[in-house]
């Protein structure tokens, strides 16, 4: 089982059970996860992106027990973001990068984003885009951050042919929006924040199951939530293989 949406380090506003790396790995193993793509909460607010990615790589190597795959962050609103991208792949052997546009103050329609997607395609790096990190209603009043608008993404993808993208933490995408994104390129989705008694079942009817990859958003969310959603949706064995493993393998370039 591959969990495509996990975070290391500390959420800025409270301690979370499992926010120490050893505890997180132990929990993931206990529920059957064999590989977890780990970003860092530090990526949200730290400006030394190079330091964030270095510590992430070191932490995954030191305590990841062969389970954690580091996913570095790149902030295309920063100067010399291209060097961060280069280091992620060439120095740290990362297979994916994770973007937090709303915490970094940029939209998906800028020239730098287009350039980033183009570079990621050239380097065969997966680009994860985290739409949101927390319900707006519960955010700290001093740091209110709206979700990322995905409206410009379809056009940006069409211009960066071949780039693989995974949308994390989407919540209220309409069926038309999901279909448009899925048609615009090689776009996959997790379902950590998809809600409603038929939330995942509806997602599975709207886009091919091969575009859905398991992502828990642990430790901010309890991993049992995403696991339970698959049960609630009555996924077949084949669908579960896709959701839990095959889609992620293909996204990371490990699949056939």
């Amino acid at each position: 089982m591959i969990d495509t949406n996990v975070y290391l380090s500390r959420w800025p506003f409270r301690r979370l059970p499992g926010d120490d790396t050893a505890g997180l790995v132990s929990k993931l193993k206990a529920v059957g996860v064999t590989q977890a793509w780990a970003g860092s909460f530090d990526a949200l607010l730290h400006r030394d992106t190079g330091g964030v990615n270095l510590r992430l790589k070191q932490e995954c190597s030191r305590l990841g027990a062969g389970l954690l795959e580091p996913v570095g962050t790149v902030n295309p609103a920063q100067p010399d973001w291209e060097e961060d991208l280069r280091r992620c792949q060439e120095r740290y052997s990362m297979k994916a990068i994770r973007l937090h546009p709303n915490y970094h103050g940029y939209g998906l329609d800028g020239a730098a984003v287009k350039q980033l997607l183009f570079e990621a395609a050239r380097r065969k790096l997966l680009v994860q885009v985290a739409v949101q990190m927390e319900d707006e209603r519960t955010q700290h009043p001093l740091l209110r951050v709206a979700p990322v608008s995905l409206k410009p993404l379809a056009a940006a993808l069409r211009a960066a042919k071949g780039v693989r993208v995974q949308i994390l933490n989407h919540m209220r995408l309409a069926p038309e929006e999901l279909k448009e994104l899925a048609a615009a390129g090689d776009v996959c989705f997790d379902f950590a924040m998809v809600e409603g008694v038929h939330g995942l079942a509806r997602l599975m009817k709207t886009i091919p199951v091969e575009r859905i990859a398991f992502g828990s958003y642990y430790p901010f969310f309890l991993i049992e939530s995403a696991l339970g959603k698959v049960k609630e949706a009555s996924a077949t064995e084949q669908q579960m293989r896709s959701i839990f493993t095959a889609t992620a393998q293909r996204l990371s370039g490990d699949g056939k």
């Binding site: 707006e136 519960t138 209110r144 008694v197 642990y218 969310f221 309890l222 991993i223 339970g228």
Partner: protein, 240 residues
């Protein structure tokens, strides 16, 4: 209702407490209020063995609300009261409702949120509920959703022993149940699903994924609510 029961079977839920029909008026008039409760009564006709009903009341129509309580709870099969966003619950208009419900030992569920981006005009916060609970210190009330911002909500009701918190209706954020058990004790926490709007899975995860002891989880998942409902269930001759 059939679909909710089917999903409940799959996810291990034995009984549902149901309230509100399909519409979502923030301030329903008496006709609308009765329509909501008629929907629940119809559902109970078919699913009495799997569901308990709560009467939906609007304190802005106090006389009609008290009559609805009598129709649905005193003289009907419902066992609880649902209060939503028509009026902040600290208002004195709620006192007769709480007194009447308390006299019959009906379960009282008050929606609460404490939204960073602002509440609806009549939407209660946990602090409002704490005020109401102070005026009716012998009547148990459930702080629905624990205000969403549960770190604040738990603190707001901590000193009111007649307030239980409801877990339903927020994201499956890690640490909620741990803080609640630490500050309130497992006996004052009640699990709920907020189904339709939420998945059963995300809401169950709050308890099943928490690090509290198994005995605490069992209390939260059903033991506490059963104990709260027992007096009115027995009075009505129902079986749990």
């Amino acid at each position: 209702m059939a679909e909710v029961i089917r999903l409940g079977d799959r996810m291990g839920i034995e009984r549902f407490c149901i309230y509100l029909g399909y519409e979502r008026e923030y301030d329903p008039d008496p006709r609308q209020m009765r329509a909501h409760n008629d929907s629940v009564l119809r559902a109970l006709d078919h699913y009495r063995h799997r569901a308990f009903g709560f009467v939906y009341l609007n304190p802005n129509y106090l006389d009609e609300s008290l009559k609805e309580f009598d129709r649905c709870v005193r003289d009907g099969p419902m066992v609880g009261v649902k209060l939503w966003v028509a009026k902040r619950c600290s208002a004195p208009e709620l006192d007769p409702i709480i007194e009447r419900a308390g006299a019959m030992k009906a379960v009282i569920f008050q929606h609460t949120w404490f939204k960073t981006n602002g509440n609806l005009p009549g939407e209660s916060t946990p602090m409002d509920l704490a005020e109401l609970a102070a005026r009716h210190s012998t009547v148990p009330v459930i702080c629905g959703h624990t205000g969403g911002n549960w770190e604040i909500g738990i603190r707001a009701v901590r000193s009111r022993p007649n307030v239980w918190i409801g877990l339903a209706g927020s994201d499956p954020t890690n640490g909620f149940v741990e803080m609640a058990v630490r500050e309130l004790g497992a006996e004052r926490i009640i699990w709920g699903s907020d189904a339709g709007g939420r998945s059963l899975a995300s809401q169950l995860a709050k308890v099943t994924g928490s690090t509290v002891p198994e005995e605490a989880k069992q209390l939260i998942l059903g033991g506490n609510l059963k104990k709260m409902m027992l007096p009115i269930i027995k009075a009505k001759g129902f079986r749990l």
